[in-house]
Structure formats: structure tokens, C-alpha cells
């Protein structure tokens, strides 16, 4: 896990649901690159093709609400999102993203305080979010979330555990 993530802000509002992040029409897709092409298509189908690599999504309350579809987190990661900061996350989306190794941070309202394209820096261990002019203290990740992110996602973590179980 990279402790520090830096990238340009991509600003979204409250209650961005997983149908907007990844519309139901594309749910049969399984290839991550194909999935990524439709990321945020429920808001604007043009976003995925123009999303800046390593961009940091800055959202309001309840990001990722709605369906449990892991496609939403796969799409955001595949589109190139480096991290997501929001005032709160829906719990299934939160687990899905952390499981994939996509860092999330809960941070007090940033809406309006961070503008599109502005460079944002976040420290995943301390929870500190910075722009050129401001610093915010976000919530620290739980131990289990850090463990999963440190391993590069839950798949490598489970592989490690399985291997240890077999050898130990």
C-alpha cells in the first residue's frame, strides 16, 4: 500500500448510487477493462474516457449507496481512480473497494472546499487530507482495512493465509 496518494480532484455530490456508478444494463460484463469503460455512465457516459489517471474522487454523503454490485468498485479502480474521499460511504461499497485495494477515506464535509482538478493529497494511515491551502483530519482506517490495503487487497491477503495454513 502506498501510504500517500496524490492526484487531481474529481468532485461529485451526495448519495452517488451504484446504478449511477455502474448502470444495470452492463452488469453481465466480467472483464475489468470492459467494466471500467462504463464507469459513472449513469451520470455521464463521457466521464470514463476522460478521467485523469490517479484522480481522487471527492464526494459527499453516502457514496456507493444501493446495490452490492462489485462492478462499481471494479469500474472506479479500472478507470484509474487513486482513492475516494467522502463524508460517508455505503457499507457494502466500502467493503468492496477496500477488498480490491482501492483506498477510501471518510472525511468531514469537503464539498465546495475542494474544486475540480485541484491537487489533493491524502495520508492513508493518519487520515490527513491536504490541498495547497487546507488540511483536514479524516477518520483513520480500521486495523482490518489497513491490513487488507497493506496486502494489496483481500485476494492476496487470503492467498497468504491459505499458504500459511497449508505450510503451518
Amino acid at each position: 500500500m502506498k501510504q500517500t496518494v496524490v492526484g487531481p480532484a474529481f468532485v461529485l455530490g451526495d448519495n452517488i448510487d451504484t446504478d449511477q456508478i455502474f448502470p444495470g444494463h452492463y452488469l453481465a460484463l466480467v472483464d475489468p477493462q470492459a467494466i471500467a469503460q462504463h464507469c459513472l455512465a449513469g451520470i455521464d457516459p463521457q466521464i470514463a474516457g476522460h478521467f485523469p489517471s490517479g484522480g481522487i474522487i471527492v464526494a459527499g454523503r453516502n457514496f456507493g449507496c444501493g446495490s452490492s454490485r462489485e462492478h462499481a468498485a471494479i469500474a472506479l479502480q479500472g478507470m484509474g481512480a487513486g482513492a475516494i474521499i467522502a463524508e460517508s460511504f455505503a457499507r457494502i461499497f466500502y467493503r468492496n473497494a477496500i477488498n480490491l485495494g482501492l483506498p477510501l477515506l471518510v472525511c468531514p464535509p469537503l464539498h465546495g472546499a475542494i474544486v475540480a482538478h485541484e491537487t489533493v493529497q491524502l495520508d492513508l494511515l493518519s487520515g490527513i487530507v491536504k490541498t495547497a491551502e487546507h488540511t483536514w483530519q479524516g477518520e483513520q482506517l480500521s486495523g482490518i482495512a489497513v491490513d487488507i490495503l497493506q496486502a494489496g487487497g483481500i485476494k492476496p491477503l487470503m492467498r497468504q493465509r491459505l499458504h500459511q495454513g497449508v505450510s503451518g
Binding site: D19, Q20, G42, N62, C65, R91, I92, N96, N99
Partner: protein, 421 residues
């Protein structure tokens, strides 16, 4: 402790748990629907070969039932192959219905259990005094590998529902009214315990409708203390071995919201936001193109029954359509047996295969740009049922039926009075 905490403690092998604690819990049943081929991929990427217990997991093919395109057909093919290779004891193919209806009908849901499914509406099973919660594909893969899942013990909020519902106020109106107050993020990370004499006397179908939509407030899980109707239901579906948990009298809820059901009225959620809930009258005059009765929220026998009674002897207007999607094959068969399906078809309804249908915009009744649908389903996010600028109003099955017959949004009470005369 709360009953939910007792379920979690029991499954984690602990005497007690408290909110905020992270536990590793043994899962009683893991259910995977057909959006989640990724579960198998993640399982294999983790090094998995055989599932931990082939009697405790199953696929339910409901979102693509039957398959609308080559890609989803390929996904089903790979999932069937995995189920066969692992000798799954249970398998629910495209003839079955929506997972949350199919599972209780198969006798796989019972009080005190921990049920994890790859679907956000797994909160439904709180209706049975079970703990049900949704996860994504990769979390599910860890369960298939180990039989366990890490869970944070949620705070529990109480939603107290007092009184008797007046004419025309269905369980769907009750939960929409609650969501209008609680809002779409009012219970994120928390559990909702529905209590009060309305819940004590509520039948299984109504309980399922209410618990189903707890997730629309962000809830991790929902709970209702099992009543006699629940115990009778699970007995009738072959369940014998279970333990009903009860909440200690001194348990402190994080918050209690109280509603007087006897003062409620039929309501609708306006397009785009499940918590933008207003009396049906606020939508009077809005023209509708499609009515939709179905889903894990509003596609059970009681829902078909009230809709059939309202449309009996009438016909939907020309250039409109009414889609009826029974929640399961058992519901469809019972609906035929009772004559509801014939009545609905005579009124111009299009009856499709049991399953999720157009609820999530995959197939069988997708909306075009600028169209309006009134629906007994659970979500009205932009684009949920098709075009991003199609409008979806959420309502009770009675309101859907009354509205599509009128061609515009209509309070169902006059039609219900007429129907029961």
C-alpha cells in the same frame, strides 16, 4: 444485548459482543445471485478449489432469468459448471424467482441464522428473526473459502410502528413513510429493529417488504422479533431446528423513531430519491406509461391479489403497459391457482418470468427516455430501470394498479373500496 448482537456473538463463538466490535462470524448460508460470476473468479484467484461446505451455499439465477444476451448466458454457464463441480446441494436456476423469495420458500431461512448473500436486499430476512446482510463478490469468495466473514457489530436503531393500518395503507406505504423521515443515509452501518404492535401482528409478506427496504436507509441489516406467522411459515417450509433470539429488556437503542401507522396514508417516492416521499395526491395528474408490479419488495401473492382485485373487469388504457413479475415460481403458480394472473392478463397485463426483471434495468420492460413508470419495486435511482431521464415513482401494488388503470398517478383508496364492495 440485542437479538442481532446475540446472533453475531453466537456465530463468532463469543459470550457477548458490543457495537463497534469486529468479529469473525461463521456463516450459516451463503447465497450468490447471478450478477456475481466474479465470486468464482475471486475464489480461484485466492487459491480456492473446493468450497468450504457444499450444503451451505447456492446460486440463485434471478437477475438474468432467463438470460437476455450471450454474455449473461456465458456467466450462467460458468456458474452452473462451478456448482456441478462442487456438488452443491442446492441450486436455483432461471425457473426459480428472486433470491430473497426463493430462499425462505426452500426452507433455508429461519430465526437466529446468519445469512450472507451477494445482494443488498438481504436485509429482507430480518422478517424471520434472522440476520441477513449483503456483500460483494470478493467478500463472498472469502466465505466460500473459509465459511467465515469479518463483520462489525452495528449499532441498533428502533423503528417503532404503532397502531393498525387504515384502508389503503400497505406495508410498502409504511416503509416508504419511514424512509421519508429516516432518509437515504439515516441508518448507514447500523441495524434497524422494527418493533411495535403493527409489526407484532404483521404477516410474513408484509414483514419481508418492510425489512427489504431497510437497506434504502443504508442499514446493514434489519430485524423483527418472530411472531406466530413467522414460526408457522418456517414450519410449513420444513424448518425444524432453530433458535429464536430475543432482545434483553434493558437494551439501549442508539435511537428510537416512533410512527403511528393508524395516521398514515398511501404515499409515493418521487423520481430519483427513495426518501422523497409524499402523499399519492401530490402526484395526481402525472401521466404514467408503465406500471410495474414485482420484485423482492412487491411481487408476492398478496401484491398480485390486491392488484388483481383493483383491475378486475377493467382494462389499462391504450398505449400503456402493466408488467407483472411474480417474485417466484411458487408465487406465479399460486397466482394462477387463485385466478389473479388471469384477471391481471385480462386487464392487459404482461406477465413475465419470475425474477428481478426490469427492476434493475437489465431486461423485460426497460424504460425509454422521457417515460414514466410507477413501480412496486424498491429503487428509483436515475437510470435504474433504463434511460437515465426516465422517471420512476415507487408505490404500493395497489397504487400501481389504480394508477395504470387511470393512466395517471391515482390514490388507490377509491379503487380498493370499489374492489371490496
Amino acid at each position: 444485548m440485542h437479538a442481532i448482537e446475540k446472533i453475531m456473538a453466537h456465530h463468532a463463538g463469543l459470550e457477548t459482543v458490543k457495537s463497534g466490535q469486529i468479529v469473525t462470524a461463521k456463516v450459516d448460508f451463503a447465497e450468490i445471485n447471478d450478477l456475481y460470476l466474479q465470486t468464482i473468479y475471486s475464489f480461484k484467484e485466492m487459491g480456492g478449489t473446493r468450497v468450504w461446505d457444499n450444503t451451505k451455499c447456492a446460486f440463485v439465477f434471478d437477475h438474468f432469468a432467463p438470460t437476455p444476451d450471450v454474455q449473461s448466458a456465458q456467466n450462467h454457464k460458468e456458474m452452473r459448471a462451478f456448482a456441478k463441480a462442487n456438488h452443491f446441494k442446492h441450486h436455483f436456476d432461471v425457473d426459480s424467482g428472486v433470491c430473497h423469495q426463493v430462499m425462505p420458500e426452500a426452507g433455508l431461512v429461519y430465526p437466529g441464522m446468519l445469512l450472507i448473500a451477494t445482494d443488498s436486499h438481504t436485509t429482507t430476512h430480518g422478517a424471520f428473526g434472522a440476520m441477513g446482510t449483503g456483500v460483494g463478490a470478493t467478500d463472498m469468495a472469502t466465505i466460500l473459502l473459509t465459511g467465515e466473514l469479518w463483520l462489525r457489530v452495528p449499532e441498533v436503531i428502533a423503528v417503532r410502528l404503532n397502531g393498525t393500518a387504515p384502508l389503503g395503507v400497505a406495508p410498502k406505504d409504511v416503509i416508504l413513510t419511514v424512509l421519508g423521515t429516516l432518509h437515504a443515509d439515516g441508518a448507514v452501518y447500523q441495524a434497524i429493529d422494527f418493533i411495535g404492535d403493527y409489526v407484532d401482528h404483521l404477516g410474513v409478506a408484509g414483514r419481508m417488504t418492510i425489512c427489504n427496504m431497510a437497506v434504502e436507509a443504508g442499514a446493514k441489516t434489519a430485524y423483527m422479533q418472530p411472531n406466530q406467522a413467522v414460526l408457522d411459515y418456517v414450519a410449513a417450509h420444513g424448518v425444524v431446528d432453530y433458535h429464536v433470539e430475543t432482545t434483553d429488556p434493558d437494551f439501549q437503542y442508539a435511537q428510537t423513531l416512533t410512527f403511528d401507522v393508524s395516521q398514515m396514508q398511501p404515499v409515493i417516492a418521487f423520481p430519483g430519491h427513495v426518501d422523497d416521499v409524499r402523499p399519492v395526491a401530490a402526484g395526481t395528474g402525472v401521466k404514467v406509461d408503465q406500471g410495474y408490479i414485482g420484485s423482492c419488495t412487491g411481487g408476492r401473492l398478496a401484491d398480485l391479489e390486491i392488484a388483481a382485485k383493483i383491475v378486475a373487469g377493467r382494462h389499462i388504457p391504450e398505449y400503456k403497459r402493466l408488467l407483472v413479475v411474480p417474485a417466484s415460481q411458487a408465487v406465479l403458480q399460486a397466482g394462477i391457482q387463485a385466478g389473479y394472473i388471469q384477471t391481471l392478463m385480462a386487464a392487459g397485463a404482461t406477465v413475465t418470468a419470475p425474477g428481478c426483471g426490469a427492476c434493475l434495468g437489465v431486461h423485460q420492460g426497460i424504460l425509454a427516455s422521457g417515460e414514466t413508470c410507477i413501480s412496486s419495486t424498491n429503487r428509483n435511482f436515475p437510470g435504474r430501470m433504463g434511460a437515465v431521464d426516465a422517471d420512476i415513482y415507487l408505490a404500493s401494488p395497489a397504487t400501481v394498479a389504480a394508477s395504470i388503470i387511470a393512466g395517471q398517478i391515482m390514490d388507490p383508496r377509491a379503487a380498493i373500496l370499489e374492489a371490496i364492495k
